[in-house]
Symmetry: C2
Subunit: 300 residues, 2 copies
């Protein structure tokens, strides 16, 4: 399974980066290959200063070795060997009318003394963070997520949509990071689902990503915007930074286990603002976004 999924994310990275380059029309992804001293490594691809994408990364990695201490605690095991691979992407468009998107799909294995697999699972999801909210974009994003889920089980979409709203919650601000999407984890073999079923589901979601996001970019990329709309985007990007550095388990885990800092923090937006007590005007587009983020909606 690990070869199968790693081959899948390698191909998916190629597909996504070539599609986004074509869409952007100016900037190209720059590739960095890196090795992890304790075992494994990754292929980081970063795009900057494009027509559409001000900053973004589409990264894959496959790492193995002794389970880091922080993770032993989390999983309630002592020192085991593990393997993990995944694709992570974050795209920060320049135009505040185009939403930021994040996605991650990953696979994990843990072994006993004899090198036999004792547990293995998939995890991941994708979520959308608009600065100006066009309801139909949120509907389209969620509809694409739902259609992909529904091919596998009608309970998946409502369950993973809810988990996404719960996970991407900026608790100290009492608001969601964005309009959500999907979040799932620990998808193991069960009586109902084989590991291959899990693989088929996660790759279905991964394959649906471009369809969920590219049409939104195309619909919004030519919209004009003012300096003050751009300021609003940069202020909201501050909330994105707050979520990633204060609450995001993946980011904090990476920072505390000697992960590759630049690959992890490529998720941070290029230009960000913090003002004291910044509050949007009542009845404005900005206030509408905040009201939706304070009370996650069902979009489909």
């Amino acid at each position: 399974m690990k070869e199968q999924f790693y081959a899948y994310i390698q191909n998916l990275q190629d597909t996504i980066t070539s599609t986004l380059e074509e869409l952007d029309g100016k900037a190209k992804f720059v590739e960095d290959l890196w090795k992890r001293p304790e075992g494994g490594g990754g292929r980081t691809r970063v795009i900057e200063n494009g027509n559409i994408f001000e900053k973004g990364g589409v990264n894959i990695s496959a790492v193995h070795g002794k389970l880091p201490e922080a993770m032993q605690k989390n999983l309630g095991v002592s020192d085991s060997e593990f393997f993990a691979c995944g694709l992570s992407l974050v795209l920060h468009p320049k135009n505040p009318m185009v939403p930021t998107v994040h996605a991650n799909w990953r696979y994990f294995e843990m072994y006993d003394d004899k090198g036999e697999i004792v547990t293995q699972w998939f995890g991941g999801g994708q979520d959308l963070t608009p600065y100006y909210l066009f309801d139909e974009d949120a509907v389209h994003f969620h509809q694409t997520c739902k259609s992909a889920c529904d091919k596998h089980n009608p309970e998946f979409y409502p369950m993973y949509k809810k988990r996404c709203d719960e996970y991407f919650w900026n608790a100290h601000r009492d608001e969601a990071r964005g309009v959500g999407g999907l979040f799932f984890d620990y998808l193991k073999k069960t009586d109902e689902f084989s590991l291959q079923d899990r693989y088929d589901f996660v790759t279905e979601i991964g394959n649906s990503f471009l369809q969920s996001y590219v049409p939104i970019v195309e619909a919004r990329k030519e919209l004009s915007y003012s300096d003050s709309q751009r300021d609003w985007q940069e202020v909201r990007r501050g909330r994105y930074v707050e979520f990633n550095l204060v609450h995001d388990k993946g980011t904090l885990f990476g920072l505390k286990t000697n992960g590759r800092i630049e690959s992890i923090l490529m998720s941070l937006p290029p230009k960000v603002q913090w003002h004291y007590n910044h509050t949007p005007e009542e009845g404005s587009d900005e206030a509408y976004l905040v009201s939706v983020l304070q009370k996650p909606k069902d979009w489909v």
Copy 2:
């Protein structure tokens, strides 16, 4: 003691904000009074878009009530009543030649069932974060800290200087946040020092603050700078954000215990940048700063 120290920080806030307003010559501090639902409140004073100060806050607060759960764990006690008051300040100048400064001086009391004080201590410190490093500024800042410390005990400066270097360490970047200063905590009554001695020490440090910082601002505020020097400042401010949101105990404690978010996050810089793998040119002023941050120096 609590009345004595709270009166002190009220006066100190007035002295600092009036001096900084005069120095800035354009922007005025805007005051927000706030109440904490569980007991107490604060007086937040924020300055924005000044001639010198792009953003900053000089805040005092005095809070009391049941010890928050997160703090019970830290202190190894069950639900006790507490009182805490302090002054916190952060100043982010516009000109990258002028360093950012942070300071905090605080007093804490905890009570038994009968309302008797069971423990009480002072804590605090101040530290300097330059974007372009003028060695003589770091020397002046540290010399002022040392002179204030030396009036009380010759061991204080070396001890609290070292703790400052250890505390303001951006572990995931393997570098200091800035060039340090002082950091002390749990200054209790001992055989050697009365609580009044502790008060005298902490207020000596608080009183030395303007002398440690204002001459540096005066020496650098008229220096010209280029767009790329300003970009470097904004990139380095990103490291400031990373420290405050990932490592700073005070910030995280505030965010997780329903503190007043806007008063806590006034510490974040107004405009910040993150680029992928940003590395200064060898031999440049920017590279010199980084080399010093990677290996904290003795300045006096």
